[in-house]
């Protein structure tokens, strides 16, 4: 029983961290590729390096500090953050899947970044524009990975595992991205975002309950039950939004 409950919790943690890291790194990589192709690679890589260093410092500062917070407070704090974050992702993915919102297109992101950079004059020496754009892209997207790693990792007492999984995802996306270069639009980002939304909301629900001293009969198994519940709810929302949208189109001449 213990082995089952531990493995179900760890499984959800690994999948959630891996998917969050992949989605965010695809977005960051798109920006870096756009900067590199338009303004040159040296300053882009410097921006990436500086952003990664800043993220490492943040993990080193806040990771150990969070472990010292009392467990119930930590669970509640992290649970609420994951709940909000997860529901935001789930909401976006449902709206995109139901056709109410356009799907996130990495090609559009790539082209708009290239257009933005092409307007400014290229620098002769160190390119500060390329540095700043690459830094901001990697830092902001990476910050979301850091938050996911720290919140999920510390609440499950598996910060090391969460960090390793995130690092694997980042390296994997980086390697694949370097090979396929401009074909990042082929990544099923919305489906991944939906998966992340479901997992984060499940974790958020579970840890918020833990923080409020709710007793779960069966322990961590409830995490998997929440995943199942939110999968069903997501599908119901998508179908009902599609139907209501179709009904509006039929009524409107």
């Amino acid at each position: 029983m213990i082995a089952t409950t531990v493995s179900s919790g760890v499984m959800v943690l690994v999948v959630a961290v891996f998917l969050v890291s992949c989605v965010e790194m695809v977005e960051a990589l798109t920006i870096v590729l756009a900067v590199g192709h338009t303004r040159g690679w040296r300053s882009s890589f410097e921006g990436v390096g500086a952003a990664l260093a800043a993220l490492v410092v943040l993990v080193a500062l806040f990771g150990p500090a969070l472990v010292r917070v009392p467990l119930a407070t930590l669970h509640l704090f992290i649970g609420v953050i994951l709940l909000i974050f997860g529901m935001q992702w789930l909401r976006k993915a449902i709206l995109r899947s139901s056709g109410l919102k356009e799907k996130n297109d990495e090609d559009v992101r790539y082209r708009s970044t290239v257009a933005l950079l092409a307007d400014s004059t290229p620098a002769t020496g160190r390119d500060s524009v390329a540095f700043v754009v690459a830094f901001k892209g990697v830092f902001l997207e990476g910050l979301e990975v850091v938050i996911a790693v720290i919140t999920l990792g510390t609440s499950a007492h598996r910060l090391g595992l969460a960090s390793v999984v995130a690092a694997i995802a980042v390296i994997l996306v980086g390697a694949v991205g370097a090979l396929v270069s401009k074909q990042l639009s082929k990544v099923p980002e919305n489906a991944m975002k939906m998966g992340v939304g479901i997992l984060l909301t499940s974790y958020g629900t579970f840890w918020t309950g833990e923080g409020l001293k709710v007793r779960w009969p069966g322990g961590d198994v409830w995490l998997l039950m929440f995943v199942g519940i939110y999968v069903v709810v997501t599908l119901v929302f998508i179908v009902s939004l599609r139907r209501s949208d179709a009904a509006v189109l039929e009524v409107t001449p």
Binding site: R91, K213, I229
Partner: protein, 81 residues
Amino acid sequence: MSETKSPLVWRAIKGFAMFWWDFLVGDTPELFIAALVVVGLVALCRIVWQLNTLALVALPVLCVLALGVSLDRARRVLRKK
């Protein structure tokens, strides 16, 4: 020296606050408020009234309701556009 440093510190604090505001509230303030309401109601069930089963059921149900309300709000806003 301090004159040049203080705006940078202020900008960093402002940037940090803005990040968290965008991250937690952003364009979905209803989800932020809903999460606080969920915490309040579940705390009431579990800690004040000592009703574990009610708290256990209410937590996911309220989260689904919050998501539904937010999706309905988004649907109406997007249709107006």
